[in-house]
């Protein structure tokens, strides 16, 4: 039925099966859209956020997907700037994931603000000193870059490619892709960093506050670094997952191995920096303000010291060690463990930098504020996941996302 659209030389599941899959995910998407409309029409009282939790699940989701989507800019950087040409075999997918992550982030932001109709104030009336302004500008620009990077992929669809203009456009865009990728990397460094800066500049919140370089707190650099470090793990994770689902090998091992190795080194260096940062923060930054590390960890279920251990040891040191060893990378199960732990690690980091900041009392006479999301928040957070799955389904089916797929899975004619 849709075979004319499917790339040549690859096999896809039957169309009805595809449609059924779409319908299932579509139902989840519809649930999310319903929740989103509720939030827009009735306001943010639909959430469980409150005056202590101005930032909550959504902002965490934003930070997390952007960190995870960091694979796009970093692999782009590696391929186009550093010249790791093997990565061309995975970069399409990385771009797709990035595109999904960033569009999701923008959508979540549009739901998260109390006055969506005034969202443009952040651009028009920009306060350049605000980290959020930096986030907004770089995020939307980088989303533009991702769109530019994604367009040639769409244009490579068998039918679209037949139109000479699009064929040429795609070709030309490939030609200058390095420029776009470089711009993207530049923008990414800043918005990933500024997302870190969002928390780091809060000098009224000792848990988040970091000293730093010029106008940028250390979290600025840590966030960029961690996104570059952990993003590829997410790319690998999703590639592996997609291979499991489709039952096909889509990317050659050497590509994965290269990306995993780079990621391993990045995580390793990042986690060292993170440990130094945490140590400095606890012993100097916070100390001069009359607090100690343990003031920020309570005996409540959510924010015990375990969360620090989980973030740094389980989600940082473990995956780094696995990915740094040849054995770890080549063992299927260890690689799986490493990328999953890494993804969790960066998600915990983002969680801590958003929600724990809100939870920790600053005034000595205040108490910990705990929060759980409402179903509307959960639904709208799952919404982009569903949307992402759909976009991956469609893109995988109709676009030549994995250049090595044909070679690895020859179709008998």
């Amino acid at each position: 039925m849709d075979s004319a659209l499917i790339p040549e030389g690859v096999k896809r599941c039957p169309f009805p099966q595809f449609l059924t899959g779409l319908a299932v995910v579509g139902a989840v998407l519809a649930w999310g859209v319903f929740a989103m409309l509720l939030c827009w029409l009735k306001g943010l009282n639909q959430t469980n956020m409150n005056d202590s939790y101005g930032f909550a699940l959504w902002i965490w989701a934003d930070l997390a997907v952007i960190a995870l989507g960091g694979g796009a800019f970093f692999s782009g950087f590696l391929k186009y700037i550093v010249g790791k040409d093997e990565l061309k075999n995975i970069i399409n997918f990385a771009v797709l994931i990035g595109f999904i992550c960033y569009s999701s982030a923008l959508l979540i932001l549009a739901i998260d603000i109390g006055q969506p109709l005034r969202g443009w104030h952040i651009f028009w009336h920009a306060n350049v000193h605000s980290m959020l302004t930096e986030v907004a500008f770089c995020l939307s620009c980088y989303f533009g870059v991702l769109t530019i990077e994604y367009i040639p992929l769409i244009l490579e669809n068998r039918q679209i490619d037949k139109i000479p203009f699009f064929h040429n456009l795609s070709h030309n865009m490939h030609e200058v892709m390095a420029v776009f990728a470089a711009t993207g990397a530049f923008l990414s460094c800043f918005h990933q960093g500024s997302l870190g800066g969002v928390a780091g500049v809060l000098f009224g919140r000792p848990f988040a506050y970091r000293e730093g370089l010029l106008v940028w707190p250390w979290t600025f650099f840590l966030f960029t670094w961690s996104a570059a470090a952990y993003g590829p793990c997410f790319t690998i994770f999703l590639t592996k997952l997609l291979e499991k689902i489709t039952g096909k090998k889509l990317v050659k091992d050497n590509v994965i191995d290269l990306l995993a190795k780079i990621s391993g080194w990045m995580i390793c260096t990042y986690i060292i920096a993170k440990i130094i940062d945490t140590w400095y923060w606890a012993s100097v930054t916070v100390h001069t303000r009359g607090q100690t590390l343990m003031d920020f960890y309570d005996d409540n279920l959510l924010y015990g010291l375990w969360i620090l251990v989980a973030e740094i040891v389980v989600g940082g040191i473990f995956p780094a060690l696995i990915l740094l060893t040849k054995k770890g990378r080549s063992s299927e199960s260890l690689l799986w463990t490493a990328v999953i732990l890494a993804c969790l690690g960066v998600c915990i980091n983002r969680w801590v930098m958003v929600l724990q900041v809100m939870a920790v009392p600053v005034l000595p006479f205040e108490d910990w504020a705990l929060y759980y999301p409402s179903w509307q928040e959960v639904a709208t957070t799952i919404l982009p996941v569903a949307y992402g799955v759909i976009l991956v389904m469609i893109s995988y089916r109709y676009l030549p996302i994995f250049p090595q797929e044909r070679e690895l899975n020859p179709v008998e004619s």
Binding site: Q115, L117, R118, W120, H121, I163, F165
Partner: protein, 716 residues
């Protein structure tokens, strides 16, 4: 040439480019944002001329002066009147919320009659005709003495008119609530056989010993008390608070004596012991102005040794000695009592014990001391004309002219043969404020015809058969006599700030109209055209000063003159009012914790006041009970867990709030919650304390002096 998809694509790009270069998207974006700044469902208050009008607040007995800010004809804010002798510009949460009562959804907008259980609007003429008919019939049947009236106060012209109406009609059934002032009147002070009301010159005292008086929790005139408290802080004057729990007053006092509940009188006598033992009293003052000192003194010295008192009260003997000495040596000390807001009287024994301290140091009618004031008397009306029916009606149930304590009202309905056939309720909400509320409501409902004059749909109005809504205090003239422990009585003037919003009528006018329609001697007793004439002529020569200043200060007693004689009474074995309930079954003592952040009187808390209620008092619709963590642990109760609170009078589901400010086995929560009427901002929230406690009469005075009740808490 063929039009293909390329052409349409091109067209699309053209449209996009053209649109982007036109103002449409940008203007639409800007305008939609302006629309969001200007949502039609978000109110825009109309601008206008700002004016200020002075009046008096009536929402509690405090009598503060208020300044009302208006924009054109709208009341937008109520502030404290700066040049007012009671509050000097200060104001409380309730006073500030006045506009919400004026414009709130609880207003009764026209006369309402209950037909088959639901209220219907009726006209004023219909309503008055119906009343006249009913009253005429009762009178003709010789049952004039079964008509009763309840008023929020026994003072002032409106209350006076109602009382006058009942008398002329032939009934002595007039009820008004009692308070700490009545306890004082009942103490053994002989003062020309007049009722004596206390006036405390607290601003000039130099040592304050308070036996549970919620000085900053609404006792007396609340704003004046808070200001006095601030003045003490500035002048470093010591405030000692005797109270079983850490109320705001206890917390702000210089020394808190966490006594066992109900032992205040014993402790007072313990201090008296110290003063006597160390001869710190004023022998001349005692000689001149009291009787029975010798016998009393001997009794105290024999029976109130600090060690013994310490055992009863839980305050160690050294503290008793220290405080007793400090009090005796202070120079201008004063001892006051009346638990919490002082709306519940204390026993005569307790008042005597506390007053004895004042007499001992000779501070009666002296600067910084206690002044003995007569009832405010500023209205001169002609004699009531009584016909034969009235005479027989009054004889059928003779009662003192001062009226009767409100807590006896339910008994008057159920416990006497004739019962009550007709009831007027003015400025009162007995179906909420009476203790043992359920029984009180049952009694209320037994009355065949109840008329409420309430401006608001309160509990009593809701249960009445006819509502004749009064103007609110911002729409009418009235005199507001204020005693409330002020050094001098004061009469505040309330005057209309806005034209009546609804079809309401002044209760004074309604009473006069009723009297006129009943003709004869009743009509003759009301020789005024309307209420304003009644008020004006009643005030006589004071009228001009009254309206000019907005208040009238009644200066009765010059200092040092006319100190009344005090009769020292040898106290009974234990001057304590026993608690209702069986200790073996109910091991806890429940006491009220009054707070200014809740209106516990006739007026329900408006939304703004409800907003200030802490979440340790009310969470969602649940009342929280303060309990010592040790007691909670003993009972297996957890913070924020549910429990059933049971007293001999009732049972309620509550939540647990742990507090280190309350002793073991004592529990507390404030009055003012658990309304069943008013609006959604108040109704159904929390538990009405009054439902859990019942009246306990003082054997001497007959006042309701219940200060607590035995209770049990079990996990729910």
């Amino acid at each position: 040439m063929k039009i293909d998809r390329r052409c349409f694509l091109s067209l699309g790009i053209g449209v996009a480019a053209g649109t982007a270069l036109s103002p449409l998207p940008w203007k639409a974006m800007d305008d939609s944002s302006i629309w969001s700044q200007n949502w039609p469902w978000t109110p825009v208050p109309p601008d206008g001329e700002i004016t200020y009008t002075d009046s008096t607040c009536t929402l509690c007995p405090g009598g503060c002066g208020i300044t009302i800010r208006k924009i054109d004809h709208r009341v937008v804010k109520i502030e404290g009147r700066k040049d007012h002798p009671v509050n000097h510009g200060g104001i409380c949460v309730l006073g500030l919320s006045g506009p919400q009562l004026l414009y709130g959804p609880t207003r009764v907008q026209s006369p309402m009659k209950k037909i088959n259980g639901t209220f219907r609007k009726i006209s004023w003429n219909q309503a008055l005709a119906e009343i006249t008919e009913k009253l005429t019939t009762l009178r003709a049947e010789g049952r004039s003495h079964t008509v009763a009236g309840i008023a929020g106060s026994s003072r002032g012209t409106v209350s006076g008119l109602l009382q006058r109406f009942l008398t002329a009609f032939g009934s002595s059934h007039f009820y008004s609530p009692s308070s700490m002032e009545d306890s004082f009147s009942q103490t053994h002070i002989q003062h020309q056989d007049k009722k004596t009301i206390p006036g405390y010159d607290l601003e000039n005292s130099n040592y304050i010993l308070s036996f549970g008086a919620g000085i900053i929790d609404g006792w007396g005139s609340p704003v004046r008390m808070i200001q006095a408290n601030s003045a003490w802080k500035t002048k470093k004057i010591k405030l000692v608070q005797v109270e079983p729990m850490l109320s705001s007053t206890a917390a702000k006092s210089d020394q808190w004596l966490p006594s066992n509940p109900g032992t205040e009188a014993v402790l007072a006598l313990g201090f008296a012991y110290v003063i006597l033992r160390e001869s710190l009293y004023d022998p001349k003052a005692i000689d001149d102005h009291s009787d029975g000192f010798k016998a009393w003194g001997a009794h105290i010295l024999n029976n109130y040794h600090p060690d013994k008192v310490a055992e009863v009260t839980g305050i160690d003997s050294q503290t008793i000695i220290t405080i007793g000495r400090e009090f005796g040596r202070a120079g201008k000390p004063v001892a006051i009592c009346g638990r919490g807001q002082g709306r519940t009287p204390v026993s005569v024994a307790e008042m005597n014990a506390v007053h004895a301290l004042n007499v001992l140091v000779g501070n009666i009618n002296k600067t910084g001391g206690v002044f003995t004031l007569p009832e405010p008397d500023y209205i001169s009306w002609p004699e009531i004309v009584l016909d034969a029916t009235a005479d027989s009606g009054l004889r059928a149930r003779p009662i003192s002219m001062g009226g009767e304590w409100l807590h006896r009202f339910p008994n008057a309905v159920t416990g006497n043969e004739d019962g009550i056939n007709f009831l007027f309720v003015a400025n009162a909400n007995p179906c909420y404020t009476l203790t043992d509320t359920k029984e009180a409501i049952k009694a209320f409902q037994k009355i065949p015809f109840k008329v409420s004059f309430s401006s608001y749909m309160d509990e009593t109005a809701k249960l009445s058969d006819l509502i004749l809504p009064n103007h609110t205090y911002l729409e009418r003239y009235e005199d507001i006599p204020v005693a409330s422990g002020l050094r001098n009585h004061l009469v505040g003037l309330i005057k209309p700030v806005v034209d009546p919003l609804f079809q309401t009528r002044h209760t004074g006018d309604v009473i006069i109209t009723m009297a006129k329609s009943l003709k004869g001697s009743i009509e003759a007793s009301f020789p005024w055209k309307d209420y304003s004439e009644c008020l004006k002529t009643g005030l006589g020569r004071n009228w001009n000063a009254f309206t000019d200043k907005g208040y009238l200060e009644l200066n009765y007693i010059p200092e040092f003159e006319e100190v009344p004689r005090f009769a020292f009474q040898v106290p009974s074995e234990i001057p304590q009012i026993p608690l209702e309930g069986d200790e073996s079954k109910m091991g806890l003592i429940l006491i009220p914790g009054d707070s200014l952040r809740l209106s516990s009187g006739d007026i329900g808390s408006p939304p703004f006041v409800m907003k200030t209620v802490p979440d340790t008092v009310l969470k969602n619709n649940d009342s929280l009970v303060q309990i010592n963590p040790k007691t909670a642990e003993k009972l297996g109760l957890k913070k924020n867990g549910y429990a059933v609170l049971k007293t001999p009078r009732g049972e309620k589901k509550v939540k647990i709030s742990l507090s280190q400010g309350i002793g073991e086995n004592v529990i507390s929560f404030p009055r003012g919650l658990g309304h069943t009427a008013y609006d959604d901002y108040l109704s159904g929230k929390g538990v009405n304390f009054n439902e859990l406690i019942g009246p306990v009469e003082d054997p001497v005075s007959g006042l309701d002096v219940a200060w607590g009740i035995r209770a049990s808490l079990t996990k729910a």
